[in-house]
C-alpha cells in the first residue's frame, strides 16, 4: 500500500514489527517509565506506595493492570505542580472542557520521541518533501508542537494563519492564508473545518475552489463518520481527509489511507480501554481510554484515564500495519446516558446519516434533568423529515426504549467539541416544548 524509501525505514520499522517484538519493546519502555516515575515523581511514588506497589516489577504487559488508574482530579489534588526532573521547558494547558485545566510539560527528549510517529502519520496522509503545510499553531497542543517539526523534517514548508482554531471568526484569516499560500497539506480541528464549510456556503463563490490545491487535510477533535468525511471532501473539494487523534497526556493516533480507524502509534504510547471497574475490555467493546506514555520525559502519565469513550477495532488493518486501531467516540461532553447506555453524538450521527439528506446537519444531544432517562432526545438542524422512521431507527440501532428528534428549523448549531446541551439551555435558546413538537 505504501512504498517505503530508505529514509522512511526507521519510522516504518515499528509498525511492521511482529506483535511479539512490539510487545517486548513496550514492556521495556513501561519498566523504564515506572522506575523513573517511582524515583522522580512524588505523585506516583505516593500513590503506588499507598497501593503497596513500591517494589512491584512488570513481568508482562498485563501486569500493568495492578497499577491504579489516575484521573485529572487525582493529579490536580495530588500535586501535579510538583516539578519532575526532565519534565521540560514548555507547558500546555488542557482544554478544561470537563472541569479545570491541567498543565502538562514537554521536553526536548519527549518531543524527539513523538516527532517520529507524527512523521509516520503525515506520510500516511501523503505529506511529501517540498510541500507546504498550513498548520495549527504549535502552542495550541503538545501534538501540534510535534507537527511543525515533523513537516520540517520531511522537508516541507510550514505556514500558519493568524488567529486561533478556537474562534470561528478566524476562518476568514485561515482562508486568506489558504488563498495566498496555496498549501498542499492542512492540519486543523474538525469543528474548524465545519465552520469553514459553513463560511464557504455563506460566502457564495468568492472562495470557490479555495482548497482545490490541498491533497489532504488532517483533522483532530471530533470523530468523523464515513459519510461526514465524504461530505467534507466533496464540499471542500480536497483530495482526502485523515483523522488524527491524541491527547496532551501522550496518546498519539493517525489514520492510514484505508480509513477504518486511526492506528495507535504503539511505539510511543500504551493505550488501554477499560470498563467502569478499571478492567481492560476486549477489542470491539467500548470503555474509557487509559494512557501510559512510553517515554520517561516530559510530564509522566501512567494509566491516566482521559475520559474519552473508545474501543479497539478487532483484527488487523488491510494496510499491513501491526499497530492496533482505536476509535475514540467522544467524551462526557459529547455523550449522554440513556437507559443505562452511554450514547455519543457520533452514534446518533451514524444512524441519522443513513438518510443522505441529513449528512452535514449538526445535532446536539439533550441531557434531560432526570436520572437515567428512558428516552434519547436529539436536536437536529433543519426542517423535519421521516421523523417516526428515524426515531425507530435510533431505537433499533442503539438498543433504546425510546428516542425523540426535535427539529431546529433554521437555527444553526455551532460545531464544537461540546455536543450535549442541558434541557434548560435548550429553553434559553428559545426552544420550548411547542417548538419541540413542531415538525
Amino acid at each position: 500500500m505504501r512504498s517505503l524509501g530508505d529514509d522512511q525505514a526507521a519510522e516504518a520499522d515499528a509498525e511492521r514489527w511482529p506483535v511479539e517484538r512490539l510487545a517486548a519493546w513496550q514492556l521495556d519502555r513501561l519498566c523504564e517509565v515506572i522506575d523513573f516515575a517511582r524515583k522522580e515523581t512524588p505523585f506516583y511514588r505516593r500513590l503506588w506506595s499507598e497501593h503497596d506497589l513500591t517494589a512491584r516489577k512488570l513481568e508482562r504487559l498485563e501486569d500493568l493492570k495492578h497499577f491504579p488508574i489516575t484521573t485529572k482530579e487525582d493529579l490536580l489534588r495530588g500535586g501535579s505542580a510538583d516539578p519532575t526532573p526532565g519534565e521540560g521547558p514548555v507547558g500546555f494547558s488542557t482544554r478544561g472542557t470537563s472541569g479545570k485545566p491541567l498543565v502538562v510539560w514537554l521536553s526536548a527528549e519527549e518531543e524527539e520521541v513523538y516527532v517520529r510517529p507524527t512523521m509516520r502519520g503525515f506520510r500516511w496522509a501523503g505529506l511529501k518533501k517540498g510541500m507546504t503545510a498550513l498548520l495549527t499553531s504549535p502552542v495550541w497542543h503538545r501534538l501540534a508542537a510535534c507537527e511543525a517539526h515533523a513537516v520540517a523534517r520531511i522537508g516541507g514548508r510550514c505556514a500558519f494563519f493568524w488567529g486561533s482554531i478556537l474562534n470561528p471568526r478566524h476562518v476568514e484569516s485561515f482562508l486568506r492564508t489558504l488563498d495566498e499560500v496555496r498549501p498542499e497539506f492542512v492540519t486543523t480541528t474538525a469543528p474548524f473545518l465545519f465552520w469553514l464549510v459553513r463560511h464557504l456556503e455563506s460566502a457564495g463563490n468568492s472562495h470557490a475552489g479555495a482548497l482545490r490545491n490541498v491533497a489532504a487535510i488532517v483533522v483532530v477533535g471530533l470523530p468523523l463518520t464515513p459519510r461526514l468525511r465524504e461530505h467534507l471532501c466533496q464540499r471542500l473539494e480536497v483530495g482526502d481527509i485523515f483523522e488524527r487523534g491524541g491527547t496532551q497526556e501522550g496518546a498519539a493516533l493517525d489514520e492510514c489511507a484505508v480509513h477504518s480507524a486511526p492506528h495507535v502509534h504503539e511505539d510511543v504510547c500504551y493505550l488501554e480501554v477499560v470498563d467502569p471497574q478499571g478492567r481492560p475490555v476486549p477489542a470491539g467493546r467500548r470503555g474509557n481510554l487509559v494512557v501510559t506514555k512510553l517515554a520517561s520525559a516530559g510530564s509522566i502519565f501512567v494509566r491516566y484515564n482521559t475520559g474519552d469513550i473508545a474501543a479497539f477495532v478487532p483484527g488487523r488493518c488491510p494496510c499491513g500495519s501491526s499497530f492496533r486501531r482505536l476509535k475514540i467516540y467522544g467524551r462526557p461532553e459529547s455523550s449522554v446516558e440513556v437507559a443505562g447506555k452511554t450514547i455519543a453524538a457520533y452514534d446518533v450521527r451514524l444512524c441519522l446519516e443513513e438518510d443522505q439528506t441529513l449528512v452535514g446537519r449538526n445535532l446536539l444531544l439533550v441531557r434531560e434533568g432526570v436520572q437515567s432517562p428512558q428516552r434519547l432526545l436529539v436536536a437536529v438542524e433543519g426542517a423535519g423529515l421521516n421523523t417516526e422512521e428515524l426515531e425507530r431507527l435510533l431505537c433499533d440501532r442503539l438498543g433504546l426504549p425510546g428516542a425523540k428528534i426535535m427539529w431546529l428549523g433554521d437555527i444553526r448549531v455551532r460545531w464544537g467539541f461540546r455536543e450535549v446541551l442541558d434541557r434548560r439551555e435548550l429553553r434559553s435558546m428559545g426552544l420550548n416544548d411547542s417548538r419541540e413538537n413542531r415538525r
Binding site: P89, S137, A159, F160, S164, T177
Partner: protein, 240 residues
C-alpha cells in the same frame, strides 16, 4: 506566494516558515528566527526578567511572543526564549474560552512574567474577578503587549508595557531603568516618522506619528538605542 522580503531567504525554496499576522506576512528562512528569539530575551531582560524565569504569554499562537517561546514549538529555531533563559514557557491562547481558564492555569504555576495581549486584558480582568484570582505583584511581573497606537487599557495602567507590532516584527520593551521604550540599535531605525525593521525583509514599516516623543539622554541599558515614550505621559521609571 509573494516572496518580496523573505528574511534572509533569497528564493521560494529558502522560505521555511510563513507566518501570517494582522495586516501582514512574515517569511523566515533557516536560522532567521534565532535573531528574534535573542531579541525577545533582551526585551524581557529590560523588563526585569532573570535567568530561570517562568514566562506565561496570553496571545494568539502565531504571535512572535508565542512562536519564539521555545525551540520545541518552532522548527528552524535553535534556541527559543525558554532555552536562552534556562527557564519555562507556556502560551495561553487569546481566545475568549481560553482566557476564561487562565486563572485556573496560573494557580498551578509560579509565574515570574505574565505577558498579555492588550485586546484581551478586559476579558482577563473579568475572568480573574470571577475566579477571585489576583496577581501577586511580588511574585509575578505583569506586562501588557500593545501595538504602537493602542490605548493603554485603564485597568492595566500600573502594568509594564511591551510594544508589539507583528507585521513590522517590532518588539520594543519599556525599560525598567529609564521608563522609555527601547528601539534596539541594529534592528530598527526611524525613517520618515516610521519604524523600519532592518533585519527582516518581509516586515512592514510602522508609522509612529506624534503619539510618541524621542528621548535624547542615553540609557546605560542600550546607549545606542533610539528611545521613545508616549507623548504627554509622566516618566514611568520602575527601578532606583
Amino acid at each position: 506566494m509573494s516572496l518580496a522580503g523573505a528574511g534572509s531567504a533569497a528564493s521560494l525554496q529558502d522560505v521555511r516558515l510563513v507566518i501570517d499576522v494582522p495586516d501582514g506576512r512574515l517569511l523566515f528562512g533557516c536560522g532567521d528566527l534565532d535573531l528574534w528569539a535573542e531579541h525577545l530575551v533582551w526585551c524581557y531582560e529590560l523588563l526585569g526578567v532573570k535567568r530561570g524565569a517562568t514566562i506565561a504569554v496570553q496571545d494568539f499562537g502565531t504571535s512572535p511572543l508565542a512562536f519564539l517561546g521555545s525551540a520545541l514549538l518552532m522548527p528552524h529555531l535553535n534556541q527559543g526564549v525558554a532555552e536562552r533563559l534556562g527557564g519555562k514557557f507556556i502560551c495561553l491562547d487569546a481566545t475568549a474560552d481560553r482566557v476564561a481558564l487562565t486563572p485556573f492555569v496560573l494557580t498551578q504555576l509560579e509565574i515570574d512574567l505574565f505577558v498579555v495581549r492588550a485586546e484581551v486584558v478586559g476579558l482577563l480582568g473579568d475572568a480573574c474577578r470571577k475566579a477571585a484570582f489576583e496577581f501577586a505583584e511580588a511574585r509575578t511581573r505583569t506586562v501588557v503587549a500593545m501595538d504602537v497606537f493602542e490605548p493603554v487599557p485603564a485597568a492595566m495602567a500600573s502594568w509594564r508595557r511591551l510594544l508589539l507590532s507583528e507585521s513590522a516584527m517590532l518588539i520594543a520593551p519599556e525599560c525598567e531603568w529609564c521608563g522609555c521604550f527601547h528601539l534596539r540599535a541594529g534592528l530598527y531605525r526611524l525613517e520618515d516618522g516610521a519604524i523600519r525593521n532592518l533585519r527582516l525583509k518581509s516586515a512592514q514599516n510602522r508609522p509612529l506619528n506624534d503619539h510618541y516623543v524621542i528621548v535624547r539622554e542615553p540609557c546605560a541599558k542600550g546607549p545606542e538605542d533610539l528611545r521613545i515614550r508616549r507623548a504627554g505621559e509622566p516618566c514611568r521609571k520602575w527601578s532606583r
